[in-house]
Symmetry: C2
Subunit: 150 residues, 2 copies
DNA sequence: GAAAAATCCTAGTAAAATAATAGGAATTAG
DNA sequence: CTAATTCCTATTATTTTACTAGGATTTTTC
C-alpha cells in the first residue's frame, strides 16, 4: 500500500520542472542534479509525463521539457496516475457498473474498496500543480528547492 | 499502490468469521472452504488478527476463532493495519512532527503525502466490522456468502 | 491414553513487481 | 561536425508478495 518511487520522484521532478522552465526548457540533467535522482531513471519518468500530455519536449541542444499546459490545470491525481498507473488500492471488477464480477451483488468488501479508492481520488484530484509550485517558491526564498518523502 | 492479498483476503476472512462464530468458534478450515483461500495462508492472516487483539482463539478439537471484542468496536482501519502494517501511502519522516527530516521545512510534496494518508485513514477508520457483517447478512438471504476484490 | 482436530510457530521458496542501469538511435543549436 | 539533448527498448539486481511446508502443541472424544 505504498506509492512507489515513480510517483514520489516523478512529482518532485515535475515541481522542479515547473519552477525552472518558465523561461526556457529545463533538461533532465539539471533536474537530476538539483533533485539527486538518476538521469536515466528520470528520463523514464518524464517520458511518462510526456506521453500523458502533462509536459512537452524540445529536442536537441538547449532542449528540455516544459509544461504542456498551465500548472493550475494539472492536478496531482493526473500526475500520479501518469506515473503509477491506476491509483485504485483495490481493483475489483464489481466496482465498475458495466461489467461487474458474477458475485458483485453479494460482495460486501466492495463497499470498503470503493470508499478507499474514492478517498484517494478525491484527495489527489483537488490539489493542483500550481499550488505546489506556489508553495515551493515561498519555501525557496529561504533555501534551494529540496524535498523529502522520496 | 495496491492493497495486497493480506488485506483483501484477511478482511473477507474476518467478515466470514464474524458471521459464523456467534455461537461457537469457527475453524480456519471452514473459513478456507467457504472463502476458497489456502488454509495455510489463512492461518498466517488470522494469526496477525489475533496478535492485534481483534480475534481470540480456542485451541484443540472444536476450537477455532471468535471476535475478541464487539464487531461495532472493530474498525476496518484497525483490521487492515493489523494485516498490512501501516496504510500510509508515503512514509515521510517530515510528516511526524517530533523528528522530521532535515529538509522537512522545505518539503513541498509532504502536503500531498499527508493528504493522501489522512484520506485513507479517514475512509477506513469510519467503517466498522459491524456494518459489514450487517450488510453481509442482508445479502446472504439470497446467496451463500461470496466476495469479490480478492 | 491414543487418535484426531485444531491452533501455533518458523522457515523456505517461486513469482512478480520495483528500481534502476545500460546501450544506442535521432534531433538540433552553434 | 560536434555536443547536448530527447527518445526508445532491453536487461538486471533487489525487494516484496504470496504462498507452501514441516512439525510442535493443545484439547476433546472415544
Amino acid at each position: 500500500m505504498k506509492l512507489s518511487t515513480k510517483g514520489r520522484y516523478g512529482l518532485r521532478a515535475l515541481i522542479d520542472l515547473a519552477v525552472h522552465s518558465e523561461r526556457e526548457p529545463v533538461s533532465i540533467s539539471s533536474i537530476s542534479a538539483r533533485q539527486n535522482i538518476s538521469e536515466r531513471y528520470l528520463e523514464q519518468l518524464v517520458g511518462k509525463l510526456k506521453r500523458a500530455g502533462i509536459v512537452k519536449s524540445v529536442r536537441g541542444v538547449q532542449g528540455g521539457y516544459q509544461l504542456a499546459k498551465e500548472a493550475e490545470d494539472i492536478s496531482v491525481g493526473e500526475v500520479l496516475r501518469a506515473l503509477e498507473g491506476s491509483l485504485e488500492a483495490v481493483e475489483c471488477p464489481g466496482l465498475k457498473e458495466e461489467q461487474g464480477c458474477e458475485e458483485a451483488d453479494f460482495c460486501v468488501t466492495k463497499y470498503v474498496w470503493k470508499r478507499i479508492n474514492d478517498s484517494i481520488t478525491n484527495a489527489v484530484d483537488e490539489i493542483t500543480l500550481k499550488q505546489l509550485v506556489t508553495e515551493s517558491k515561498k519555501v525557496n526564498h529561504k533555501m534551494k528547492n529540496r524535498n523529502c518523502g522520496g
